[in-house]
Structures are given as C-alpha cells and as structure tokens.
Symmetry: C2
Subunit: 316 residues, 2 copies
C-alpha cells in the first residue's frame, strides 16, 4: 500500500497539511514525534488569527482533531531515514523508515520537521543542563517561583520567555547581545515590567554552580558575563533561536540554504519532484504557526496536483 | 496624524493583517466595505486549520474581534482613490480617500481588496439578475426551497454551491464546461448526491423567463444550453470565479499579472516600496482564507520592517 502523501512532523504545519491533504482525498500519513510540535511548549498564543488567546496545547489538539476528522492517519513514530525506491508495482516512491522498524511508502513527501533549540556553547551549559539550565521557560518556569533567573536572547521567543518567567520569579535578567528583535508590543511589555532588567551588549562567558557539575545536587548559582559582571541566579533560560531539523531532507538530496533551512518556493516545492516542505524547517523568514500552516496547505495542494498528474488521485 | 499601515479590505487577509500589524505596534487602520469580505457569504467553512466547522460569519467575527482587541482601528468606508503625497511634516505618505470624503495618510499600505464574482455575459443574465440569477448560493438558497436550480461552474466554489443548494432544492443541475476542478472530497460528495445532475461539455446560451425581463414579476424559467438542451429551472447560480479587485492598486502604479492579479513576493511585497498585498487580489495560486491570512501576516511584518527603517516604529 502506497500513501499519496507522508508528512514528517506533527507541529502546526504537519497537522494543517494533513487536514488539507486528506480533504483533497490523498491517502495521508502524518508521522509525529511530539504531537503539536513546539506549539505544546507555548503557554498562551495570541497571534493565531481568530484566536485572541489559546494555549499551545489547545491549538495543537484542535489541529490534530481537525486532521483526524478530515481523514489523515497520524502515527507517533520517529522517522530515521527517507530514501527513494520502488513499491511492489514498480512505481517510484519514497520509503520512510521509523524507529519502530516500519517502512512506509509514499508518492510524495512533506517535510514539516521544524527546528531545534540552539545552544550557547559555553562552559557549564552542558554540565548544568536540567540543573538550572533550561531551553523551555514554559516547561520549567514553575520550578523557579520567587527565584532569580537569566533569559539569554534578544528575539521574540526570549521576550516571551522573560515575561512568562516574570510571572513566577522575583527577578528576571534578560541578556541581549545586540538589539531586542522582539515584537514592539512585547518590547513595551518587557520595559514596563519592574521585575525584568535588560542587560545589553554582552554575552554569557560561563555558567557556574554549586557542587560538582554533572553530579547529583549540583545547581546553577552564578553566571559570569563577558563584560566581567557576575549575576547570582538560580536558573538560565536559553532562547537564542532554532536550528532547522534538516538531516532527513539533506540525506535525500533536498537543497538547503546557508542556514541549513530547506529552500522552498511559494508553492512549498523543494528542488525534488514530489517533495515539499513547510514551517520552521524552511527558508521562510517569518517562523510563525500561521505561516507554517499556510505553507503546508499549499504543499498539500502542490502534492495533490503532482499526484493527479501521476493519475493517482483516487488512491483512497 | 499619519498611520503606520492602512489596510484596504476587511476580509480574512485584511483583518489578520490588522491584528498582526497592531501587535507590532504599528498604528493600523483597516478600511472595510463588507466586514469579513467574501467569508460572510460562506455558510460552513471546514478548511480553516483548527476549526472542524465554522460559519463564515463566525470566523469573520473572530478575526474582527481579534484585530480590534490587538489595537487595530476598523472603519466601514469604501476607498475611492489612493495617491502618493506628503503629510504636514513633509514626509512621503500614501493618501487614501474614501466615499465619505475623508482622507487618511499612511507610511505603508496593504491591499487586501479581494475579488469580484465573474459574470457569464449571456442574454438574460443581467435582465434576470436578482430575479432568479444569483451570484451567491449561500445568500439565496433559502429562496429556492423545493425548486430546481442550475449551478454554472466547475471549480470548488461551484461544487460547494451545488451542495448547499441540494440541501434546499429538489433538483440541482451543475453545468461544467470542461472538467470538474473541485476538491476531490467535494467531487465525491457531488457524485453521491442523488439530487445533483452534472452536465459536462457545454455552456449557457441564454437565460429566459416569464414576463418582460427587467419588469416586476419577471422570473427565470428556462435555460437554453449551447448544446441545444433546455433546462426548466427556477434559478441560475453563477459560480465561475473571481476577478481580482485591482483598480486602486493599478492606479497607484502597482504591477499586475495578465490575470489582473497583484504580483507579490513571498514577503507580500509589491513592486512599490511600502506597498503590500495579500489574499484573493494577489497572484498567489491558492485562493483560500488561511493563505490570505498568512500572506497578510507576512505583509504586516514587511511593513513593520519598512517603517522601522524609516525610524517610525513607535508612532503609536
């Protein structure tokens, strides 16, 4: 059995693409590791058009239910490799292998693999990871009630992290290497928040703590900045961006830009016939759920047209 | 007073752009004729990601409330002209004139003007317009309860119209000149519906009725096809596509393609600095609410960056 479209990724792009492709009568499989993708880390989303305020988890659930209702199949398996091959009928297909040992075949592919949080790569980061160093403010904010934390980063994700942490912590430092690139609305909120202190123009030199790093009981206690200033903190939240998840695409021969993002055109087409990409793994400038969702809708339509040309439209 | 962004159009693109631009702290004005645009004609939307089923009116209201809550100003005025000019401070601005005689000034513009229903241009169409000839099945279906109607068109809008009408009418003919280009899911539904009869390969030659056309009491009664066949019908629903609303943009010097659609890049930028476009008036292939919405979000971000470069970021 050959799918019309296999979608790798279960974030807003993957789930929207699944909904739309299934509505186009493509036999559609969504392979998701984390249902909802990075959405599920977001406490409160206010810029999904039509939703004044919705939790990431709720939006993820809505998108998943919509994909399922539309007829998309969703499996929670991690993809380990994608290769070109042939199906039993001798037709050219993509073979998608997952950790469970399964191999799925499809006439077309949509990479909606998203991105991965970037690391600071400074002394102490790895050693104190999970012991005061975190990459997810929304997951871990509750552990820092009435404590002092540092948020590293000057983008919108960092701004949002700082605000969420300020709801719980007594003090939030925010370290901005150059300029704040957050939404103006968020910058205003940061500046108005008396718990937040923004430090500009320097970077983290080292993260230090109590106890032997990597040993039980070790904990972040101090951050030394390149400027020489030292901050006494209980936690460090790293929010310096996402790296695109591109390994599967790259191995298949999909063209990437110099940031490692999958190059797509306006119809979400990559350089390979029958292969599409959408969302944070692509070279689209604005990494927002609504944008990835729209890219995936266009990818589904592109896949539909591609398969219609293969006269496989009524597979399902 | 000069706006950061004026958006012309109150459909899903215009309202999403208004929400996003206001969140970016741009002083934003949305000028809408029909709040919700063509959305409001849609009875049931099933492909807005995350909403299994929502009425066009409800989605339009959600988008409008979201734009307002985010700080966008919405005025229900029709734009009559857009010109380049200077504000009191001598800065280059766009001057937007409306039917009320008002002139609004803005540093940037977003055309989200949508499209207009295409006409058949056959004898009887104009004369029986509103007397059996309709361009909005969802507005008028209720007037044709237990009657026989003809839907003209082979696209997705025509397919949806036929299905909506079949809920009310006793018989629905569907006239498809060449091939059905509707979503496969919709084609299936059409073919399964015993009330719907699809006629392929011909076109409307003339719409005829009772009484003197254009006179009171006149009513559609018969449609003659180019094949010679005659259909006894009570109504004709024309669903053969949209023409982009491009006059204001064209007059400003915005570049159009040969279909009259505004040419935009992936950041929703037109050929003119500070001028953006989104939704059905653009050359994007897929004319769907979610796509226009995403285009408008990107346009708002483009406008934000443009104005930040003009050092006008904190206008509001």
């Amino acid at each position: 059995m050959t799918y019309g479209l296999i979608i790798i990724g279960g974030g807003p792009a993957g789930l929207s693409g699944g909904m739309y492709a299934a509505r186009l009568n493509l036999k559609t499989l969504v392979l998701a590791v984390l249902p909802g993708g990075l959405l599920t880390n977001i406490h409160d989303i206010e810029n999904w058009p039509g939703e004044k305020s919705i939790s990431g988890m709720d939006l993820a659930n809505n998108l998943m239910e919509h994909a399922k209702t539309s007829g998309a199949e969703i499996k929670f398996e991690e993809v380990t490799a994608v290769e070109k091959g042939k199906n039993e009928a001798g037709e050219a297909v993509f073979k998608v292998k997952t950790t469970g040992g399964a191999v799925y075949e499809s006439y077309s592919l949509l990479f909606a693999t998203g991105g991965k949080h970037r690391l600071l790569n400074v002394a102490g980061e790895k050693e104190f990871s999970g012991k005061g160093v975190s990459y997810c403010a929304l997951c871990d904010a509750n552990f820092y009630k009435d404590k002092t934390v540092l948020v590293v980063g000057g983008g919108d994700a960092a701004a949002k992290d700082a605000m969420v942490l300020a709801e719980k912590c007594s003090k939030v430092y925010m370290l901005v290497r150059s300029v704040l690139r957050a939404e103006a609305a968020n910058i205003k909120l940061l500046e108005q928040n008396p718990k937040i202190e923004i430090i500009y123009g320097t970077e983290v030199a080292e993260i230090m703590g109590t106890g032997v790093p990597s040993a039980a009981g070790a904990k972040v206690a101090l951050v030394r900045l390149k400027s020489g200033r030292e901050l006494t903190v209980d936690g460090v939240f790293v929010a310096i961006g996402l790296d695109p998840m591109n390994v599967l695409a790259k191995d298949l021969g999909v063209k990437l830009n110099d940031k490692g993002e999958i190059i797509v055109d306006r119809a979400s087409q990559t350089n390979l016939a029958g292969v599409y990409a959408a969302g944070d793994c692509t070279d689209i400038e604005i990494k927002q759920a609504i944008v990835g969702s729209s890219q995936a809708v266009m990818a589904a339509f592109s896949a539909y047209k591609y398969i219609r040309n293969l006269i496989k439209i009524y597979e399902k």
